[in-house]
Amino acid sequence: MKNKILTQLEKIKNRNRLGIMTHVVVGYPSLKQCRELILKMAEVGVDFIELQIPFSDPMADGPTIMKANKKALDNGVKVKDAFALMKDLSSKLEIPLIFMGYFNTIFNYGVKNFCKDANKAGCSALIFPDIPLEEEENENFIKFAKQNDLIPIRVLSPASTKERLQKNAQIAEGFVYFVGRKGTTGAKSGLDKKLDQNLKNLRKYFKIPIAVGFGISDKSHLKSLKNKADIAVIGSAVLDIYNNTSKGKALKAVEKFLKKL
């Protein structure tokens, strides 16, 4: 069977539109509400959803997602809950679901077993930013992911040098995740001035679709990405809306926000 990521990428291409990827933290604000949020996102029509496995030290995340990680852990959420949620929803939803997180979670679980179980749970890809290519020899992360039909998404940034882009392009599959600005997630909104130039440069090395994240929060951002990138990642912005709306209305607010996009 074809990986759902590839199927979804084809769909976006055929319809000539920008794909949308959203993000949740498993167990935030609670397991139940997180599940509702994912279902709502899928219903509105997003193309990919990242399920972040909460971690105590989420190095690449800004305040919004850090707080969500902490809250989820305070709620007692375990890695096994993330697997259960993945299994439950991947069988219900057509769109691909992705595990996002930090490498210690995988390392602690055992790289081989984690990949096996993630595949069994219906996960389509992995986004783990803190396991660079240089450590592959020790960890076999990419190897086991690919063996289990999980696409290890490469995450690159404006700081990446030509050598880094080349190196990553050689092994990248599915799409490449480009961090639109230097910084952590959701720290600042708005697109980086050099984004156009950076994306052009990225295209030179990557033949696969490009997803852009960090700082995307409204329709004008999406417009300016059209024809330059293939997927827009909206992470903290959705959580911010969810957090800033009174209980009961939060789901509706997210729906409204995503529909506008």
Binding site: F107, N108, S157, G183
Partner: protein
Amino acid sequence: MKKIKNIFIKTQYDSDKQGHFNGLGGRYVPEMLIPALEELEKAYNQAKKDPQFSDDLMDLFNNYAGRPTPLYFAKNLTEKLKGAKIYIKNEGLNHTGAHKMNHSLGQALLAKRMGKKRLIAETGAGQHGLATATVAAKFGLKCTIFMGKVDYERQRPNVFWMEQLGAQVVPVLHGTQRLKDAVTATLQDWITNVDDSYYLLGSVLGPHPYPSMVRDFQTIVGLEVKNQLQEIYGIDKPDYIIACVGGGSNAIGIFNPFLDDAKIKLIGVEAGGKGIQKIGNHAARLQKNQKLGVVEGYKSYFIQDSDGQIQNTHSISAGLDYSGIGPQHGRLFQKDRVEYKYATDKEVIKAFKLLAKSEGIIPALESAHAVAYAIKLAPKLSKNKTVVINLSGRGDKDIFIVAEALKDKKWQDFLESKVKK
């Protein structure tokens, strides 16, 4: 004392080119930090080969920081314990009061060479932050220090001094609000301001090349001990060296020149806190159920739960209150080259009092961990044995904590009268 010219030595326990200490260490960071680490590694390797860099650093060590620090024969303590001869390497006499000045000077010199305009650093006890703020002032660099809110509150005097030196001190409100969260916050700042900022890391941890680089700048401590023992005391080499281990910078600094001589016993002392039975009560990573993990850019032993979540630690000393340990220490533990012991808060306070009253030396609470273990060890050894304690810092900064631990009534009255004014 014989002039030390070369501080860059090699041992069989060094990392490979990618910073792996037989699998530990490494560079587990997001892609956005890799170019910065590559740039740092390149600059550092060049600096190491440049005799001018070493000359400049030695000049700063000797004429700014006050090196060499004394190696002092603790006669009274030795007589009291009736065992091995005890020598104290008094790093507390460094400028700003601790060994942290050694790697701060080395790294500031490097930052300057790299053309960086701003220093950022994490701090636990505040000693590393203080040293960083000091070198930033000296080198005319901007400076931001991140400090977990718990530490920010309990080490107020250091916060005050850092601010006087011109640094901005940011209390870190996320996670456990301790050293590990300060490390994360500094990494995040670095991710954002990677072009003009230099991350002046305060221990032998984090992604490669930090564990090796910080060790190299601390090796001056061990090199001096070697010379001082021979020249002042006519002792060829020590039998035991004891140092406290948080991240492990002072310990690796004094151990490094002795690592290849297996006859010299090396002992690292972790923070036993309120006892090592329960997670959350201590910061002893190598005592029970040691668990490998990959956090904050490196692989080593971390205090974590079954899901790999990093857990809370406790120690009376903020500087040892850290859930991870430098990767080379992890390696030295695996190879049994260094023995890792622990001391509890209670033992530490006892050691603090004994050293103060018998030798007139007020140790930092971190360093008092090493003293506490020496008190246990020395009486069991014969009188011709030599024990060296690395007294990594002086205790001035701990005045509030010690006074509270000792329940000193007069101090309490003083504080109250100050508040009333």
